[in-house]
């Protein structure tokens, strides 16, 4: 199960990849996932990513994130440094004055400083201050040779806080271990001293407040007023004379408990707070991610496919076509599907016989028989007048075939006529007739009447 940071980075990576995909595909993919998961279920991004990953590759390996690697290395380094510093600091506190007593006041001051630092780190993390961000960015760029993912930007503060609190905790722990080892292996002499004019009673009150959390159940770690009076020392006067040497060592349980209660425990608590905060901000960063709302929308919205991606036969007409001819003089003529050719056929003055359209097939056959009777040796031209805007159909093709059988040796010319017979049919309409003539073959031609040509010339 990947952590929330890995989930966020994996989501961001998937989001970047999805930018290249078509929205229709993304919608279909994510809606499919939502339907498979069950309607009304809150989307589990980690599962969604796992499914995408499982479908997208043959291995179930978890993806590698350089940002996470960097943070692991950085945190390990920081925590190790904290551990070393803990040993060094405690050693310094215990031994900085050589043969003199160890001043408990100094240790208390240091504990207070640690407490303040821990609180400052927590406040900084919660408030989102990032004064150290340029250092981290610089380090990251130097080590990874690439820009860190912008998806992690809102988490940089909480991540740094958690790392700092963890390092602080380890610092406190190694310092305490150093103290306990020193107690065992060394003869430590604690005392207290201050430049301020204060009485042992006042100082004892301060110490009692510090020891309040454990004074009830661990009296040995709660110094008495006598111990405070007995172990005060002054730098410039020998004070050892009136004090039993054993008393100098009685302070160590108090020092150890102070360190545990006021350095280690606050750090542990604040580390827990930082971890919870990082988790919450990680979840929030995911829901605030620009791709998240879009993903939710894709999962919730039914994918409607209207068939827009289905392409049809794509059989577009070819562009090349033959040229038109002039209308033959005094031909045999027939009106196809109600077309009229008023004044367009020279030498034809009677009404044209009809074929096609609403007529029966038998009527077409009768028309052809009538034309066969009219055909003479000198009249072997048949003009079929059609409506230019009507598409030529297979019925016309059948009629032409029948005409060739009934009128042997006849030359067939199609004459497409526009709605206004005086107008030349437009090129698009004429084109379909030329292509039809080419498909039919057998010498079928397409004519444009002279008056039509003239009109075309004027226009």
């Amino acid at each position: 199960m990947p952590g929330h940071l890995e989930t966020l980075l994996a989501f961001d990576r998937q989001y970047q990849r999805d930018q290249q995909q078509s929205p229709v595909f993304l919608h279909r993919r994510d809606r499919r996932y939502a339907l498979d998961s069950g309607e009304g279920q809150a989307p589990d991004i980690a599962r969604w990513l796992t499914q995408l990953h499982a479908i997208g590759s043959h291995t179930a390996d978890r993806p590698d994130f350089p940002e996470i690697r960097f943070w692991r290395r950085f945190s390990t380094g920081f925590i190790t440094a904290g551990a070393l510093l803990g040993v060094i600091t405690m050693s310094g506190l215990l031994f900085y004055e050589g043969g003199q007593q160890i001043n408990v006041t100094v240790i208390l001051g240091f504990v207070l400083l640690q407490l303040l630092l821990a609180l400052y780190t927590a406040v900084q993390g919660l408030a989102g201050w990032q004064p150290w961000a340029p250092v981290i960015h610089g380090l990251q760029q130097r080590l990874q040779k690439q820009q860190p993912s912008p998806a992690l930007a809102p988490l940089l503060g909480p991540m740094m806080t958690r790392t700092a609190q963890a390092a602080g905790l380890v610092f406190g722990a190694t310092a305490l271990i150093t103290l306990l080892l020193s107690v065992v292996f060394q003869d430590l002499a604690f005392g207290w001293s201050t430049t301020l004019e204060t009485s042992a009673e006042a100082w004892h009150r301060v110490v009692s407040w510090v020891a309040l959390p454990w004074s009830g159940w661990l009296p040995v770690a709660s110094p008495s007023l006598e111990l405070a009076e007995d172990t005060r020392f002054f730098r410039l006067e020998g004070s050892e004379a009136g004090t039993a040497s054993a008393r100098w060592g009685e302070w160590w349980p108090f020092v150890a408990m102070t360190w545990l209660a006021w350095v280690i425990l606050p750090r542990a608590l604040l580390l827990a707070v930082a971890t919870v905060d990082l988790r919450a901000k990680g979840r929030s960063a995911l829901t605030q991610h620009p791709g998240y709302q879009a993903l939710l929308w894709r999962m919730e919205t039914p994918s409607v496919d209207t068939g827009a991606d289905t392409s049809d036969s794509g059989q577009l007409p070819e562009d090349h076509r033959s040229a038109t001819v002039t209308v033959p003089h005094a031909p045999l003529a027939v009106s196809w599907a109600g077309a009229t050719a008023d004044g367009l056929l020279a030498g034809v003055d009677r009404p044209l016989p009809r074929a096609g359209g609403a007529q029966s097939l038998q009527a077409d056959r009768d028309t052809l028989a009538q034309l066969a009777e009219q055909m003479t040796a000198g009249h072997r031209q048949l003009v079929v007048v059609t409506r230019s805007w009507e598409p030529p159909t297979a019925e016309l093709e059948d009629f032409l075939e029948d005409a060739r059988e009934q009128l042997p040796g006849v030359t067939i010319t199609l004459l497409p006529v526009a709605g206004d017979p005086a107008q030349r049919p437009n090129d698009q309409q004429l084109g379909q007739w030329l292509r039809f003539a080419e498909r039919v073959g057998q010498g079928v031609r397409v004519a444009v009447a002279e008056t039509q040509e003239a009109t075309h010339g004027v226009h």
Partner: protein, 484 residues
């Protein structure tokens, strides 16, 4: 004969070139369907299912046109004894002639009908009614399937009335539908009419129209997001280049050349980003084949993004800017009043408003771009960065927005049967002034922030998206009112 499958299927049939494919293209939102194919070359039926989450709600079948209706009718009449056997006779015709190339088209178009498809018979209402198509209509009536006739006007003449009375004798329902120009509401109305053909088709068609309506709403919302993203990107875009420190000293030729180069790249980027927005919106509405006649992306073209004419058409008046600026500034000023718990007696809002109005008035004057600025590159002592942009002009935002909204409107209103180039002439009026005060303020506020090169947080971006969404609705209203 009747299909056991409950999913309605509608066979779109008719005489060749009567707009069958136009109807299918519009209803299936598919602009890849080749319209006005050569009659006789479309030999196979093509199915266009409407699927919601993989579940088919209905299927449209685009069929080849009738080629030999009289021969088919002759065969049917010679093989039928009474009206009761007509549907079986049609089925027998299809089985008999399935492999006959002469009747391939008829078999293709009749096959889905004898399998239970409803009939959508398409005629061209711009040509006069003649009895020539009665053979086709008779064959369709013989199938006994529920049928609807659709008068689709391809040309400019109107013979709808004569068609209506003739078709009424053959078909249960007769509707007029202009596949190229019918608004979306009519598409839904037509689909609902399909549902009335059989009682058990009503529910899936009703569901389909519901999904299509929601899809349209979603598309508008997504368009607003796309426009917002483009607007933010274009308002804040900056061109930058890294170069040696001594290369761009003030007043030198190299500096001017650098500025000119960066300026040109900046302009180019803006044009490309706008073009990408166009394509994204078109893809969202499934328009893949649009020939757009907006403007060539050339310098100072009449309709180009940066031309004076474009500015005159899409920019807003200075009074508008000042008014909207006052509103947006006042909203900020209210914060001062809130901080003083009202002790400033509204003076904060007034001062904020005046500052906003003055700023908008001043900055809305000319196309100002933050010109070349040079800065040192961190960590590289002998290098520096030269940047050009972002734009300082509020009007630029309004121009981008106006053009984007106008393009969206044309695309959202365009039917997929349309094959004419999309023309986007500049608008004459200031449509923005018809928007609500809140929308105008939100737009002004966001554009002012972007002009100052400040990033919008998520809430502000959502507010801008909502304002753009309102702008889309307002523009649509304004267009409908101005064309009414």
């Amino acid at each position: 004969m009747v299909s056991t499958d409950q999913t309605p299927v509608f066979a779109v049939v008719g005489h060749p070139n009567r707009g069958k494919s136009s109807v299918v293209a519009t209803l299936s939102q598919n602009d890849r369907i080749a319209i006005a194919l050569e009659p006789g070359t479309t030999r196979e039926s093509q199915r266009y299912p409407l699927q919601v989450d993989g579940r088919t709600l209905y299927t449209l079948v685009d069929t080849p046109g009738f080629q030999r209706p009289r021969r088919v009718l002759e065969w049917l009449e010679s093989h039928s004894l009474s009206a009761s056997d007509r549907p079986d006779t049609v089925a027998a015709f299809v089985h008999q002639h399935r492999d006959n190339p002469r009747f391939r088209d008829e078999c293709e178009l009749l096959a889905p009908i004898i399998d239970g498809a409803g009939i959508i018979y398409v005629v061209d209402g711009s040509v006069p009614y003649t009895a020539e198509q009665e053979a086709e209509m008779t064959i369709l009536r013989w199938t006994g399937q529920p049928s609807l006739a659709l008068i689709n006007r391809i040309g400019s003449d109107d013979h709808t009335a004569s068609w209506q009375s003739a078709l009424g004798q053959f078909f249960q329902i007769v509707r007029s539908f202009d596949a190229v120009r019918a608004p979306f509401e009519q598409h839904l109305g037509l689909l609902k009419a399909f549902g009335q053909l059989r009682p058990d088709w009503e529910q899936p068609l009703e569901a389909a129209t519901g999904f299509l309506t929601r899809q349209r709403e979603d598309r508008q919302w997504r368009s607003a997001q796309l426009i917002t993203e483009a607007l933010i990107g274009m308002m804040t875009h900056q061109e930058s280049r890294t170069l040696p420190k001594n290369l761009a000293t003030p007043g030198s030729d190299s500096r001017e050349a650098l500025e000119a180069r960066l300026r040109e790249r900046w302009y180019q980027h803006q044009r490309e980003r706008e073009e990408k927005l166009r394509k994204d919106v078109e893809a969202l509405y499934q328009h893949h084949q649009i020939a757009r006649q907006e403007a060539a992306l050339s310098w100072h073209h009449d309709h180009d993004l940066f031309s004076e004419e474009t500015r005159r058409a899409w920019a807003v008046s200075k009074t508008y800017l000042a008014t909207a600026g006052f509103g947006a500034g006042a909203v900020g000023g209210v914060g001062i009043d809130a901080l003083t718990l009202g002790h400033s007696l509204g003076a904060g809002a007034l001062i904020g408003g005046l500052l906003g109005a003055a700023g908008s008035y001043f900055y809305g004057d000319r196309l100002a771009i933050r010109a070349l600025s040079l800065g040192s590159l961190k960590g590289a002592g002998d290098l520096q960065t030269a940047t050009f942009g972002p734009v300082q002009d509020l009007q630029f935002g309004y121009i981008v927005l106006g053009r984007a909204v106008d393009h969206w409107w044309h695309i959202s209103q365009r039917n997929h049967a349309g094959r004419d180039p999309l023309e986007l002439p500049p608008s004459e009026s200031h449509w923005l002034e018809t928007l609500g005060a809140d929308t105008r303020k939100a737009l002004q506020r966001a554009l002012t922030r972007l002009r100052k090169n400040r990033k919008l947080n998520q809430g502000e971006q959502q507010e801008l998206e909502a304002a753009v969404q309102s702008a889309l609705e307002g523009y649509n209203r304004w267009r409908l009112e101005s064309t009414a």
